[in-house]
């Protein structure tokens, strides 16, 4: 579904990504993890054509992201950028409704209304449709932004650190919705995560990066491994098992 070939990029002489290649199949939740400055957000924004690589190509659902017209690509790929300041006096329904813009270009039809309703239901926002964004908590607002990306109805959904500033309840809620997005709606979800344990708990695959290179790209169980994580983070990490789940102990 997503093919990344020999992508490099540098900003003002500092190399951010060097020769990254990666192939992600359709479906499932893929987590991009790594320490600060590993290049995970940069890689994601390149998949989302928000940033151009210096070298290399990226194709999403068969479309070269650099060469495809933005409005065509917007029907194959949705992105939720890192938290942006939003106008406070848009309603949840209006915000999610703008996710349908690539399809209706300003004239929403019945299909668009159905999609918006589905997205609002899927992200647990029923009852909040008419509320202004400024009256929501940070967690609810993130859910609304994710619902907007879902409503875009694209096979691929990319999310850049959606758990930023969320408490444990909302973080868990959001990850559960992403899981459902992949399982029930068959979307290919790629999400940049800060906390390795969220990735371990919810993702099918983990792509671990460090210093602009991919250190590991494998099913979750293989990456949730003491040796692999030590290579990723550069500090010793122990893995504990509880109820069959692997948890990285990285606090001390």
């Amino acid at each position: 579904m997503i093919e990344i070939e020999a992508v490099s990029c540098s900003i003002r002489g500092a190399s951010i990504l060097s020769d990254v290649s990666l192939s992600l199949g359709a479906g499932g939740v893929t987590a991009l993890v790594g320490p600060n400055g590993a290049g995970k957000s940069t890689l994601l924004s390149m998949m989302a054509r928000l940033r151009r690589p210096d070298r290399g190509t990226i194709t999403v659902a068969g479309h070269d992201v650099a060469a495809t017209r933005p409005r065509v690509l917007a029907r194959h790929l949705a992105v939720m950028p890192q938290d942006a300041a939003l106008p406070g006096r848009l309603t949840v329904a209006e915000l999610v409704g703008f996710g349908r813009f690539p399809h209706h270009r300003g004239r929403p039809g019945p299909a668009d209304r159905v999609a918006v309703e589905e997205a609002i239901t899927a992200f647990g926002l029923v009852g909040f449709e008419g509320r202004f964004l400024e009256t929501l908590s940070g967690g609810q607002r993130q859910l609304a932004r994710a619902a907007m990306a879902f409503a875009q109805g694209t096979p691929v959904v990319l999310l850049d650190e959606p758990l930023n500033n969320l408490d444990i309840v909302h973080a868990r809620q959001l990850m559960a919705r992403l899981r459902l997005m992949a399982d029930e709606a068959g979307r290919t979800v790629v999400v940049v995560l800060h906390d390795i344990n969220h990735a371990g708990a919810w993702a099918d695959r983990i792509v671990a990066m460090r210093g602009g290179r991919i250190v590991a790209a494998a099913p979750t169980d293989e990456v949730m491994d003491e040796a692999v994580l030590e290579r990723v983070y550069g500090v010793p990490v122990r893995i504990a098992s509880a109820d069959g789940e692997r948890i990285a102990l990285h606090f001390r």
């Binding site: 950028p81 006096r89 915000l95 703008f98 813009f101 008419g130 202004f132």
Partner: protein
């Protein structure tokens, strides 16, 4: 999360429809128009006075107000800041500078040509302003209008120096302070361009809201940030230039009207735009009418009236802001 788009006042938690405000504003507009047409120097007008002076003046106020308010709304989406508007961010001043230079280069040029020169200068001046805005920290929204006021002052100083040297100060005054006493049939028709531009801005309303979600979100929805920026800038600059060349700079309309409309209705550009246009028309027409009668039979320029009224309202808006 820091919100660069500031919250205003104590607004309703849920949106209201634009229906009621539209009806109220239309009523105000009708009453004010009737007053503006029927009363004034010369008493109740005969047909000649009506068609050459009274009616053009009322129409000019409506077109100017609607244009300026919508231009402010567009500019706020482009700059992603609630506190900017073209007449207080260098757009109007750059337009005045362009018109001045055109007047010096070709003294006999038509008002159309001068307006065009003004629009081109406004485009360059506003693009430069938006470039500077992007270098300000988004967490400090008040810096943007402050930068705009000072930037406009710098452009105005350049224009003053040039006009002083060319002995065109009286002309400069007509462009830099909004006044409608000179509006007569045959000398305001360029303002109808505002009506056309308003119609055009309805078409990009949704894209403007998307732009206010941020550059990445807009690109993600297939809306080209650069193309929208150019289109929005074009609309703002032509409205500004047309207004400056016919009426002169009128401050605050583009600031206070969208702010009030946002409190009342919300931030969806499409739903708020009719209220903004009507509100701007009512505000400018009311201010001009006030200016005509406060020292009857003499006149106080509409730009001066709005300098006072607008500054009061704007101060109230920024000082009573929540959070």
């Amino acid at each position: 999360m820091t919100m660069a788009m500031e919250r205003l006042g104590a607004p309703s938690p849920r949106p209201r429809s634009g229906g009621a405000p539209v009806v109220v504003l239309c009523g105000c507009l009708v009453l004010l128009s009737a007053a503006g047409v029927l009363a004034g120097v010369g008493g109740v007008p005969d047909r000649g006075l009506l068609l050459t002076s009274r009616l053009p003046r009322v129409l000019a106020a409506i077109l100017t107000g609607a244009g300026l308010a919508v231009a402010g709304l567009i500019m706020q989406s482009l700059a992603r800041n609630r506190f900017v508007e073209p007449m207080m961010a260098g757009t109007g001043q750059a337009a005045g500078l362009g018109i001045l230079l055109a007047t010096i280069a070709a003294p006999g040029a038509s008002i159309m040509l001068k307006g065009l020169a003004g629009a081109l200068a406004a485009f360059a001046g506003t693009a430069a302003f938006l470039f500077l805005v992007r270098r300000l920290p988004p967490s400090e929204p008040f810096l943007v209008p402050l930068l705009g006021i000072v930037y406009g002052g710098v452009l105005a100083a350049v224009a003053t120096a040039i006009a002083w040297n060319a002995d065109l100060m009286q002309f400069l005054e007509t462009w830099f302070s909004g006044e409608m006493s000179g509006i007569l049939a045959g000398r305001y028709e360029l303002l109808w361009a505002n009506a056309a531009l308003l119609a055009a801005s309805v078409f990009i309303a949704d894209r403007l809201t998307i732009l206010s979600l941020g550059r990445d979100a807009a690109e993600g929805l297939g809306v080209s940030f650069a193309a929208m920026l150019a289109a929005g800038l074009g609309l703002v600059c032509v409205i500004a230039a047309v207004t400056v060349v016919t009426v002169g700079i009128i401050p605050f309309v583009g600031l206070v009207v969208p702010a009030m409309a946002s409190r009342l209705i919300g931030d969806n550009v499409r739903t708020v735009m009719p209220v903004v246009a009507l509100g701007g028309a009512v505000l400018v027409l009311a201010s001009d009418t006030l200016g005509r009668f406060i020292r009857f039979p003499y006149e106080v320029p509409v730009g001066t009236v709005l300098g006072v009224v607008g500054a009061f309202v704007f101060l109230a808006i920024i000082l009573t802001r929540r959070g």
